[in-house]
Symmetry: C2
Subunit: 356 residues, 2 copies
């Protein structure tokens, strides 16, 4: 395989001139550049990426961390697929590559982050689905390496892209309230995720805006699995709680909820309306089709890479207190399970407030 020295020799110039010419730098005469490029073409020369990295200290590799408990991988496969597509598109456009790091716990994330940072295997990190207080924040800060989170760790000034999950919660609650439901249950995700906390806050606000009381008994939390969601709803039904709608934090939980309701002789949407979040393929094809909130994960992925590259190419490290953030809007996807038309955007539900 031809190296730059071969090219230089054939073009009759020095190695340094060849390098300048090949990289389109100024200070090379047109005639020389032409000769160098010609030689490169003739020798089928292609620069060695590793040598380049060593020389200029840039790997052009972005490390992507995806957490998987097995059930999570399956339940969110569609979500991660979309995320990935967006990231890949953004990276490719700018000549970057993605390396993939599947991790099963935050401790493992911490460990792998450490080895990657130390061995200088990538120019920056993208960490998806952080919990509220990830254990590796100190490590990241010390390393002073560009990072972007997909999802928001609490009380950290690291850059992140995320949906506005308060808005997601609010959207869901309002949609069901607008359809006339007075007792709307919220089957939330685990509390260790920031998105769960944010959505709960949004749910609360949405109810308030429609003058509905916030009832703690109607807020349930379950893992992001069908099984756990099922048993949670079964328990709620057994306790005799009254409600006419369930807002679920993920599609897979909605499926569990639907099974529980059916098992209890309740039909959807006639007896209970159901609204989910994620818009994975599942919901479109389910019977009944499940209304859900689309998080536009491909956009999320695209923006995360863009933000990371801004840091890398701007020479700014995430630890430098760059508190950039991007919020991706989410949108309702109305389907049969919620038994309702989209909330009329014109409608003003009233004053809300404590008096509700």
């Amino acid at each position: 395989m031809a190296t730059i020295r071969d090219v230089a020799k054939r073009a009759g110039v020095s190695v340094s001139t060849a390098s300048l010419a090949l990289n389109g730098r100024p200070l090379v005469s047109e005639e020389t550049r032409r000769r160098v490029l010609q030689a490169a073409r003739e020798l089928d020369y292609h620069p060695n990426a590793v040598a380049k990295s060593l020389a200029d200290g840039r790997t052009r590799v972005l490390a992507l961390f995806i957490p998987v408990t097995l059930e999570h991988l399956f339940s969110s496969a569609g979500f991660f697929g979309g995320l990935l597509k967006g990231m890949h598109r953004a990276a490719l456009q700018r000549g970057y590559h993605l390396s993939l790091h599947v991790v099963e716990s935050e401790e493992e994330t911490a460990e792998r982050v450490r080895t990657i940072v130390r061995s200088k295997r990538s120019d920056g990190l993208i960490i998806t689905n952080p919990t509220v207080h990830p254990p590796y924040l100190g490590e990241l800060r010390r390393a002073a390496i560009p990072v972007v989170f997909v999802g928001r760790p609490e009380e950290s000034d690291f850059p992140y892209v995320d949906n506005d999950n308060v808005e997601v919660g609010r959207l869901g609650a309002r949609q069901l309230a607008a359809a006339g439901h007075k007792r709307i249950a919220f089957l939330n995700g685990p509390n260790r995720f920031t998105f769960s906390r944010d959505r709960l806050e949004g749910y609360r606000r949405g109810l308030l805006e429609y003058g509905l009381p916030f009832d703690e008994d109607l807020v349930w939390s379950s893992d992001l699995t069908e099984e756990h969601a099922y048993s949670t709803v079964v328990a709620a039904l057994a306790s005799g709680l009254a409600f006419s709608a369930i807002f679920c934090a993920s599609d897979i939980q909605a499926v569990g909820a639907l099974r529980a309701l059916r098992g209890h002789g309740l039909s959807v949407p006639e007896n209970v309306a159901v609204l989910a979040v994620n818009n994975t393929a599942l919901t479109r094809y389910y019977q009944p089709p499940i209304a859900t909130i689309d998080l536009h994960e491909e956009k999320l992925g695209y923006l995360s890479v863009e933000m990371l590259l801004r840091q890398i190419e701007g020479g700014v490290s995430a630890a430098a207190g760059a508190d950039w953030q991007a919020r991706v809007p989410s949108s309702l996807v109305i389907r049969e399970s919620c038994g309702c038309a989209p909330e009329d955007p014109e409608r003003n539900p009233g004053e809300g407030g404590e008096s509700g």
Copy 2:
């Protein structure tokens, strides 16, 4: 950041000795090794992966190609998720990393393969879901780089891991035939994939073994999408063809088929039995739960990496005519939609043959 020269200096030895000591090579006295390791620890030294790659010519990166048409990404998200998990596990164990290359067409694959090979960005390639005659085989052969396919390209001596898709087809046909069905339709995938051809062959054999005639009219082909499967089955129903079971090449197609059947007033499994392939989350939670064939994709992923590493570390290139292959067995997952118990493994269906 400390380099190996810093370590050598602090330990009072030459750089070369430090390198030997750090890599656990023989020919270094115990005393010296101790001192070097001690120095490394004190300086918090971690070798630079890029420098290492340049020096020894090994990147320790495996390039993974995943094709995505958008619909495919969604319909097979579970499948790729499992594949990925297996690959990652195998790679991690041996100190390798995965780089991810999402491609939308075989032409794009060809192009990206070329740039990766040329820039020496990875030690080997894993290419998933090749078509029957991928356009980049020549490129691969010329590059003489280790490659493993996940899925079998026809008439190529490149190494691959795959399910035994003839067996998958046979399994499906036999299962339905054993339940007493005489007219079993096969909603196959696109003919450009080797797995489609193999499954068709298996389906034919399965029927034969039960003495059932092979009827071309009962073999339909559709894209791996819900929509296309739906319209294909709708057309079949409209044509008045008689059949009492459908064997679908993927879960997502089964969902489309179910919708078409329901729309035609047929219920599953009472009027028509349905059996699918893939065992994605979808099938478990669908109503009715969909019987399917599990392809054990995690194992497929694990084996593909193992096979690739065997080539890399054995110094054998895929183009050297190494016709290794691994077949991963598949297993039936019986659920309501097929309206039947597992085929009795004891049962011998008879002589089969033309006379059936």
